[in-house]
Amino acid sequence: MKYIIAVIQLDRVDEVLQRLEEKEVHLVTVTPVLGRGRQKGVAQVYRGNKEAGSLLKKAKLEVAVNNQFVPATVEAIMEGARTGNIGDGKIFVFNMEECYRIRTGEIGSVAIG
């Protein structure tokens, strides 16, 4: 079992969700986040005072999958989120210790999907 976190461009979320759906990965959590990468943020000005904007709005996707789904999931996010520009984001893959489905009490691989 793996836990996959991806930080991507906000406007690529729909595309990525569509591709995940095509690969039969249906369970995703999406959060709006602020972050900083090599792209840097946009400075803001309030009544003449310049605020160095160092953070950009991004979307964070979190997906828990069984091992055989990992390549498909990564591929879907990669294809959906890539524009070729700086700021397209990153994908992080973690080992996952355990997974419980609260409603039934099921444990492990069966509880994920």
């Binding site: 406007d11 595309e15 309030y46 950009l56």
Partner: protein
Amino acid sequence: MIRAVKKCQFWFLVAFIFSVILATVVAADTGAINGSAITSQSSSLEEIADTPVVSQTVVQKVKKDNEIDTGDTAWVLISTALVLLMTPGLAFFYGGLVRKKNVLSIIMKSFMCMALITMQWVIFGYSLSFGSDIHGLIGDLSWFGLRGVGLAPNSDYAATIPHQLFMLFQMMFAIITPALIIGAVAERIKFSAFVIFSLLWSTFVYDPVCHWVWGVGGILRNTGALDFAGGTVVHINAGMAALAAALILGRRHNMVLHVPLPHHLPFAALGAGLLWFGWFGFNGGSALGSNSIAVNAFVTTHIAASSAGLTWSLIEWVVNSRPTMLGMITGAVAGLVAITPASGFVNVIGAIWIGIGASAICFLFVSVIKPKLGYDDALDAFGVHGIGGIWGAVATGIFATKAVNAGGANGFFYGDAFQLFVQLKATAITAIYSFVVSFVILKVLDAMIGIRTTCESEKIGLDLTEHRESAYTMLE
């Protein structure tokens, strides 16, 4: 459709339409429509019935020349402030409908119209619109910088209020008209391009059309076209420019999977409320006096907005099985747009039908026809103001009656089919002129400075890239 028949909301819609038809028939029987109920008002206006008159200038009580009436002045002063409030109202209406990264860009454009068009109007816009006529096409520059526009009344336009007040009241219309176009160009026009466009558009489109319809000697005014408070000048005019702008700008990026959702519908409702409130000044104030025509316009304005809001909700309830808040306020605004040219010429029953027609036609256009055509009129500036405005201008030719306003005309229902033809002609001339000139202005601007923001800037949002600020913070 068969399933729809089983629903109570379907029968609600049927009952509503049926009761309006019943009311129309009863009113016709008792003669209210034919004017016996309002003879006192008609008689006071008979003195001016012979002169061919149009719109805002029609309904002046004939008084001694150049005598200021305190009641008239008080009402037009208040109306002027009411109409000004519509532009920030529009900013909230549109602002709530865009994504949160673009809300400030919408509000900023609205306030820019208030500041910029005020200057344009004072320096030469008012003179181009209402100055001495040149071949029926445009005013001259005799009132450049408001020279000679003083506190004494001008009997050509409003004999009982100070000339400067008439100038200011008209200014508010000049401000909101380019602001209406923001709805079509939302989320993707360069701010600099919008500023130059609104200035050029006011000068080459609004001012001439305003002169044709309302200026003494204007070509449409002389044909007898009725436009009480600006259905042609404001709504059809802005609606057609909006269509031209949407076509030239193209679709927003990344709309393949779904249409961007409104970020704050309560804002949109607040804006719609301010618009409805301000519209009493827009239409009621266009009587340019505190008189029975002002009250008629006030009453029909409110009734048309209500009947249109109710109709849109019921249509949605039947067609989509749920009535939406956005549908209700869109319907109300469509009704307000449609009643604008008619408000001083139709009675209560006419207002109800105009409201029903506005929602039925705009709903059909916005949710059925527009998606098939594929252009991106982001907030339906054309769908509501253009289409609603055209329906209003036509409906004026159908429902207008001299029983309400002896200075007006009888429409199709009151025995004069010719008025309908006059209305259609004025609509067509305005629509074609506005579309063509707006198209040319935008094409030239596009070639010179580019009118669309970069794809990158559209992604980040215009608030940050065009104005260096954001409406909402995420961390604190």
